[in-house]
Amino acid sequence: MRPIKTCMIAATFALSAGAVLAQGIDDPTRAEYFEAFKGKTVAYVPVAMGFDLTEGWAAGLKEALEPLGVKFEIRDPNWSTDAGAQAITSLISEKPDVLVVHNPDVQSYARLLKKAEEAGIYVVQVNMRSSYSTDAFIGADYVGMGGQIAERLVEICSPANGGSGKIAVTQGVLTAAASAYQMKGIMDVLAEHPEIELVSNQAADWDATKARNIAATVIQQHPDLCAIAGFWDVMDVGTGAAIKESGKDVYLITQGGGNQSACDGLENGTYSEVVVYNVPGQARDMANMIKQMLQLKAEPGSMKTTLFTQLEFLTKDNMQPGSCWKMPSQQ
């Protein structure tokens, strides 16, 4: 009997061990990971919904966070700074876990963002930052970007390289971070290049019609204008239209989130060059940042992280089929 019993016990052990291996072993961090996101809320206050940047960020955040059980809420102030401030104020009392804010200018939301952090809400700022730094900023390094753009302009327009040395700048809203910081970057570089003359520096309020009229007048007044730097591709369809209409060879360098419309614009010659901060990439950065915050559970406002987005300088020559991204509605 004894040998049979031993054999049976041995067989049982062997079987159960084999069974464990066949079923796999559990990842010890998994439960904790998913637990960290259960019942959490992320609120998103863009400048407005309805254009490529804000729609792209929303889609990316939704895609990354909702499968984890995070509730994702959008408050759309539709270009009204007042409505945005109200949305943030009411969110402070509703206490979501994370607040994602896209600032219309550097001042308006500064105190509210501080209050939100004090109320225990993590605050993530995207692309246009406020003068108050919060837990995280994800977006383009506008000062550096302005510098790089100015250097491209110097390269293209310097009389040493056969250009006329005359350039123009079309800003967005003057007080927006994208305009104010970038202008500093541009002016710093131009200060070292007296051969480059900034003949026009105007604000078009992110509006294509205003951008068109400004460009038309500047080109008319300076027929030897070499290049225009515009601060947003959606606005610069107007600048591009004015250049086409004038029949002059003016280099248009613009910037944006790298939506398909930017590649279309390069393809049909509306833009000469587009500086791209990749929107899906920014959305992923934000989602990762939020995941980290919710797992680390640090005190809101105790850590300040800046993640500058890598820039890509797209032209018709280096552009590839996958260079730009599409929104669901464009597919």
């Binding site: 539709n78 520096n201 019609t209 009229n213 400004i214 007048t217 369809v237």
Partner: protein, 324 residues
């Protein structure tokens, strides 16, 4: 002052525009060239076209605050339809029909339901913008699709060296002048604007005329929208939230069309538009900072109104009820 006393506001504004022109011509090389002057008029021609639409409504003693929202939404919808694969003429027809239908609803609300024009059109503008953004398309800037390229001529083309938007402006002005001067309905419109009860007693179909006036305004608005879309290869529906509609009213009032109705002509709109055009063009050439531009614009407009008030003081006859 006695000699100046006979100058109308229109003449004062025209004089101011000429004065500015002369000043810029002396100070700014390149201002008084054919190209720049064409460019100047071209940049305000859309404002001018919308001014004519608003002017007609104001002459009929109304106001159309939904003008810009309706223009943006109906033309953006047209572009969206083309992008979705509809043929261009069909999409334009649908956009126009939508625009006219909304104009008619405006008119009915004002003429038959007797809601004051300022409230009816204010609410309609907000409703139309929301309706468009929610039901008709999701993005707030609609790009012109390849298949709608034919539309680009009206915004970017030119004939005999004159840019198409200027031609559109001239055409709209001419049509509106003919309408006001030579057609029965044009005269009815002015009569209704001047004195509604008297017009009704004499047998003029006052209510249908009011409906007509809002339909005309939405028709001209749609045309202005097509010119806008053509010239920047896209339609930005955000203009519905901008101060553009006030700029339009400003052009109308500045040119001398009284908000009390019955007075004024298309010529007034042209003069008001020119003053704004000269100002904007000169300041852009001088590369004046944006915020300072607003100050200068405001001061010059105030000056024009102050001069008018001094030369043409209000009395019981001119200060009609409804003059804002």
């Amino acid at each position: 002052m006695q000699g100046l006393g006979r100058l109308s506001q229109e003449q004062i504004v025209f004089g101011l525009a000429l004065l500015l022109c002369a000043g810029f011509a002396v100070m700014l090389p390149g201002f008084l060239t054919t190209n720049n002057l064409l460019n100047l008029v071209r940049s305000v021609s859309i404002l001018g076209i919308l001014g004519v639409a608003m002017g007609l409504v104001v002459i009929g003693r109304g106001i159309d605050l939904s003008l810009v929202a309706l223009m943006a939404i109906s033309v953006a919808w047209t572009l969206q339809l083309v992008a979705n694969g509809m043929s261009l003429p069909q999409a334009v027809a649908l956009g126009l029909a939508f625009s006219l239908a909304v104009g008619m609803i405006n008119g009915i609300l004002i003429a038959y339901v007797e809601i004051p024009a300022i409230f009816a059109t204010l609410a309609m503008g907000i409703a139309i913008y929301g309706f468009g953004r929610y039901f008709l398309f999701t993005l707030d800037v609609i790009y012109m699709p390849e298949s709608a390229q034919a539309l680009q001529w009206i915004g970017q083309g030119s004939l005999l060296g004159i840019p198409a938007p200027i031609l559109a402006f001239i055409a709209v002005c001419a049509a509106a002048t003919l309408f006001l001067r030579w057609t029965t309905y044009g005269r009815y419109l002015r009569a209704v604007g001047d004195n509604l009860p008297a017009a009704r007693i004499t047998g003029i179909p006052a209510r249908p005329i009011i409906v007509l006036q809002y339909m005309i305004s939405s028709l001209i608005g749609f045309a202005a929208g097509l010119v806008t879309a053509g010239s920047i290869a896209s339609m930005n529906t955000r203009v519905a939230n901008s101060t553009m509609v006030y700029d339009i009213i400003l052009v109308v009032v500045l040119g001398g069309i009284g908000l009390s109705g019955g007075r004024g002509n298309v010529r007034n709109v042209v003069v008001g538009t020119l003053l704004i055009g000269v100002l904007l063009n000169g300041m852009t050439i001088m590369n004046i900072e944006y915020t300072l531009q607003n100050v200068i614009k405001g001061v010059i407009l105030l000056t024009a109104i102050v001069i008018d008030t001094i030369l043409n003081p209000r009395d019981e006859q001119t200060a009609q009820q409804g003059d804002i």
